[in-house]
Symmetry: C2
């Protein structure tokens, strides 16, 4: 038997997405600080869906239309004007978010998610669901593109570090001929595979969000497996099934 | 005295170049396999200039116009039809290239070089001139952008590894708030700072060029300091001064 392995690749910025063939592949959206961490946490805590939208205006409009919904999003570290809540995974405990729809606008993650057009499936990745996501991907036996949301198209360390963590777990089962995947894995190895926050303390995003007092938020976002679900996009909504996998 | 340090950044792909402010900065063009390695070697060996051109057609036309010139360039590992020589640094020893103009067309390096419009200076970087380049940059006290030519806009390991080697040498004297620079440095540290070819043997470009039998070429290209000059762009030509620096 000469079964071909599926292909695993890493895209380091939305500005490079056009270089990858996403048709028929599973695309993992990665925005560690903090969109995909917040989405993972809110859904695991019982939100009935997360609706990612590009602008504050859309967020308000959709929030008004949908019953039992909350609007959320930040600009420059503060709740955006006209919205109700922020972009922290810690703001959405079960008693607060259960059965609600979270209408969320973010700078980078939402944009990348809306750019992917022809994937087999779009799923959400974060340290909070690292093992659940990796195991689910392995079970699919399909090509995978790990898509880093980055920061306004600029390469960032935390999304790539997470991509490296996934490459580390998946590499035995995939064909990898992608230097970005190799570099992500080296980065993950450099971190020692633990104490990610220490590794990220010199990163641009850590510096920026620290200025807003969000150190605790970031520590939470890089803690593996607190929310073992695999959120996926279904129409305009991000959801999980009852069993915690798609 | 509170003297501000100049800024050091790394651009991982020509497709991300628009995100960086190159005005007034020194831009280092990096295309390790093999454009910038060949340019560095040819000039150190006595070529009077290298003229980088985008297409085989331009290469032929300019070669016909300029006395004592050679045309060179490869497509898929072979000398391109209509050109005289290939894209190997080993093809241009002193006895062959001295006082000649090398009209060179390459896939990636040339393109990036032509994309940079408003830099203070465009210079050529390769392992072959690593120390000379680093020392020259340190002496300028200006903002620096290390520009990886990549492979058809896709991130590559060898250009980023070299960028990391430069960051390693420059970091004490520059303000670095660029995750790509941090990642490049981690990559360089992962390599152990030596035996670069072993580190690169799993890279996409090593695999591709190995299929053309170019292992020895690549080993040469990652050998530090064989050609200690700092080539720079002057008009349409890449040149060095008599003293081996710009």
């Amino acid at each position: 038997m000469n079964e071909e392995k599926p292909v695993l690749e890493v895209c380091l910025s939305p500005a490079l997405l056009h270089l990858y063939n996403t048709k028929g592949a599973i695309v993992v959206i990665i925005d560690i600080f903090r969109a995909t961490s917040t989405i993972t946490a809110a859904l695991h805590n019982g939100a009935r869906c997360v609706i990612p939208v590009a602008s504050v205006q859309d967020c308000i409009a959709i929030g008004e239309r949908i019953p039992d919904s909350l609007t959320a999003g930040e600009r420059d570290g503060k709740v955006a004007e006209g919205l109700q809540h922020g972009n922290s995974p810690l703001e959405y405990p079960a008693e607060f978010i259960k059965n609600k729809a979270l209408v969320l606008t973010t700078t980078n993650g939402t944009r990348l998610l809306h750019m992917v057009k022809d994937a087999d499936r779009i799923v959400i990745g974060s340290f909070l669901n690292l093992t659940a996501l990796s195991n689910w991907l392995l079970a699919q036996n399909k090509n995978v593109l790990l898509g880093c949301a980055s920061w306004k198209d600029k390469f960032n360390l935390e999304d790539t570090l997470f991509a490296g963590a996934v490459v580390h777990r998946l590499q035995h089962a995939y064909e990898i001929n992608c230097d970005a995947a190799r570099a992500a894995k080296h980065l993950y190895n450099s971190s020692g595979g633990k104490n990610f926050i220490e590794f990220l303390k010199d990163s641009s995003h850590y510096r920026r969000l620290s200025a807003f007092g969000l150190q605790h938020d970031m520590e939470y976002c890089v803690t593996p497996d607190l929310h073992p679900v695999v959120p996926h996009l279904a129409g305009d909504e991000i959801v999980i099934s009852d069993t915690g996998s798609v």
